[in-house]
Amino acid sequence: MRRSRYIARKITWALITLVFVITLNFFLFRVLPGDPARAGIHDPRLKKEAVEAIRVRYGLDKPVINCFQTLNPVEFGDCLVNPLETQFFIYVGNLLQGELGISYHTNRPVSSMLGEMLLNTILLIGLGQILAIVLGMLLGILAAWKAHTTIDYAALLFSLTAWSLPTFWLGIILLFIGSSQWGLPIGGRITPGMTYENTWQQIVDMGRHLILPTITFTIVFLGEYMLIMRSTVLDVLSEDYILTAKAKGVSNFQILKDHALRNAMLPMVTIIALNLGFTVSGAIQIEAVFSWPGLGGAIYTAVGRRDYPLLQGAFLLIAVSVIFANLAADLLYSYLDPRVQET
């Protein structure tokens, strides 16, 4: 199929999903009992001016959407009202300007809080994912090559166990051992109150804080990627063109490198993309255990403090990131697979 058409289709679906998520995000918070706007109104922590500001920002006196005045409880309203004057479109309008509300807890704009957090999460996940992917792929190829031998069974057992570990629990155990036995920090991104003489010290300090979370992340995902890679490579190694290569006198190592690896990478890209949800779950857990100031941790603390604007903003940002990551994976796939060709 044509690459340009493939890409156009994928982008279209990404946008549709985006619209769906935004809509979902909005209505969730209006429909469910924990309605933030109203909760915010009654929250005794807020001053009168803040309450008014919220009322104006969310347009609480305006109808939620055409035909519905409020959704919880359901109250019907005027269908012919100007859509732009409804809460929903006010919300969308705010979004497009990058306006995500003000955190109840810190009174800072949610968008700037999330900006820092996103970078922290990417740092944490990025390192762990890369390690997990590389190691997982290598182990997977090895296990598939030596399928049904002792090496394979050992690798399988390791991966299945790693996959079965609750991420947060692995983090706790590693944290326990790491902080008591090896003097590694208990949590956070940097040592609180520390001053640095240069950037290198800062990097080292952050590095020390990254070790345990990254190891946790790597172990959990190593298991999963190894399992997937093994099964993909097993399929590839049963294909006829492997026999052709063997008949041509190509060595086992070369076959694994030039045929197995290359062909197995394609499904891997797709599957890694599909597993981004799992990645998010892992990030939330690890950031919670290690107090890492990222998006996942944001969700955790926001839930605990009932900080609804932050919660809503964090969820949206996470969902949007995953959608874009999926899109990136699709685009990458289209360039890797020659069967999706240029016009």
Binding site: Y241, L243, T244, A247, P338, R339
Partner: protein, 360 residues
């Protein structure tokens, strides 16, 4: 009815040509978990001379491909060669080490696999895959040298050079087959095994491929082994024919002898089953029944359950491969029943009898 095989002016010289490959008493088993092993091949032998084209004929599952894989030592992990020797260039191929046989594969004996779509890696270019075949031989050379060789190989088979960087799915079925041929010739082998080279191609393309193989055979002095179930291909291309059934040799003779004086009932039935262009409205014959399961073989002759002239002895005792005359062997209990073979003993109106009668 198949036309008389083209008389080969080469046939006379063939007897003088030196023997390239001599396969003797090959037996191959497949081990099956919790089951007795399947005897895929039992005591098969043939000789291949320089420039000779041998046809391996039989139904699916009769062992033709297994024999070729055994020769190249490319059997699957549960395959075992339990008997036999393969004399080639003064050595027994079966006694070589893994490293040594890798030096023989493709450089001396290469193979054109069937199903070229699956036998080529879909995500690598044709050029890469052809180069892969000879790059180990030439070692570290200029990319241009490699590229030139690929171009000349593709030229041999009639594929234009500007298509060499394309991928298998961009080639038509016939082109893929030709690319496979080019790949098989990459190291100038002495023997090429063509495994069902024309199956799954339409008739026009089949003719092109066969023509190409014939041309290459003359030009490069190749010996070819055609593994096929298509008697037409055999008649067209081969000097010698080995008919197999259920893992054993049914008949082994020159192509003329097979078509004019078939001795084994299976060979006769095969010939009979081929539609006759001269008698388009005649009822199609077929051989009833199914080929035997290789791990549950019937006692006695393997063809007995389906043989039109089977007697009691056929179900008890396996017939030996016997030489009828120099150059013609068959395995049947009733070879010398009549000069024309056992079919004449059956009803005078059997189509095989008509086949023989109409040939004049």
């Amino acid at each position: 009815m198949i036309d008389q095989p083209r008389s080969r002016s080469r046939a006379a010289d063939l007897d003088q040509a030196p023997i390239l490959l001599e396969l003797s008493h090959l037996s191959t088993d497949f081990l099956i978990k919790d089951s007795p092993p399947a005897h895929a091949l039992v005591d098969v032998s043939f000789t291949l001379r320089e420039g000779e084209a041998l046809g391996l004929v039989g139904e699916s599952g009769c062992g033709k491909t297994t024999m070729m894989l055994s020769l190249m030592r490319l059997l699957p992990a549960n395959g075992r060669i339990i008997e036999g020797t393969a004399q080639f260039g003064g050595v027994d191929l079966f006694s070589l080490s893994e490293k040594e046989i890798a030096g023989v594969r493709w450089k001396e004996i290469s193979m054109i696999f069937q199903g070229a779509m699956n036998a080529l890696n879909p995500v690598r270019t044709i050029s890469d895959q052809i180069a892969e075949a000879f790059i180990l031989q030439v070692g570290r050379v200029d990319k241009k040298v490699v590229d030139d060789r690929v171009i000349s190989l593709l030229d041999l088979v009639g594929i234009s050079a500007d298509r060499r960087k394309q991928y298998p799915h961009q080639y038509s079925g016939g082109m893929r087959q030709r690319a496979m041929i080019a790949m098989a010739l990459a190291c100038n082998p002495q023997i090429v095994i063509a495994d069902e080279p024309t199956t799954a191609l339409d008739v026009m393309i089949q003719a092109q491929i066969l023509e190409l193989l014939e041309k290459l055979r003359d030009k490069l002095g190749l010996s070819i082994i055609f593994v096929t179930h298509d008697l037409g291909v055999v008649a067209e291309m081969c000097d010698t024919v080995l008919v197999m059934y259920g893992g054993v040799t049914a008949e082994y003779a020159s192509v003329d002898a097979i078509y004019n004086e078939p001795r084994h009932p299976y060979t006769r039935e095969l010939l009979r089953a081929f539609p006759d262009l001269n008698r388009p409205t005649a009822k199609l014959a077929s051989i009833p029944g199914f080929p035997p399961r290789l791990n549950a073989l019937p006692p006695g002759c393997r063809f007995a359950p389906r043989c039109p002239i089977a007697q009691d002895i056929c179900h008890i005792e396996q017939p030996e491969l016997r030489w009828i005359d120099a150059g013609h062997a068959a395995s049947c209990h009733f070879l010398d029943l009549l000069p024309d073979g056992p079919a004449a003993a059956a009803s005078p109106n059997t189509p095989s009898q008509n086949l023989l009668n109409s040939e004049s």
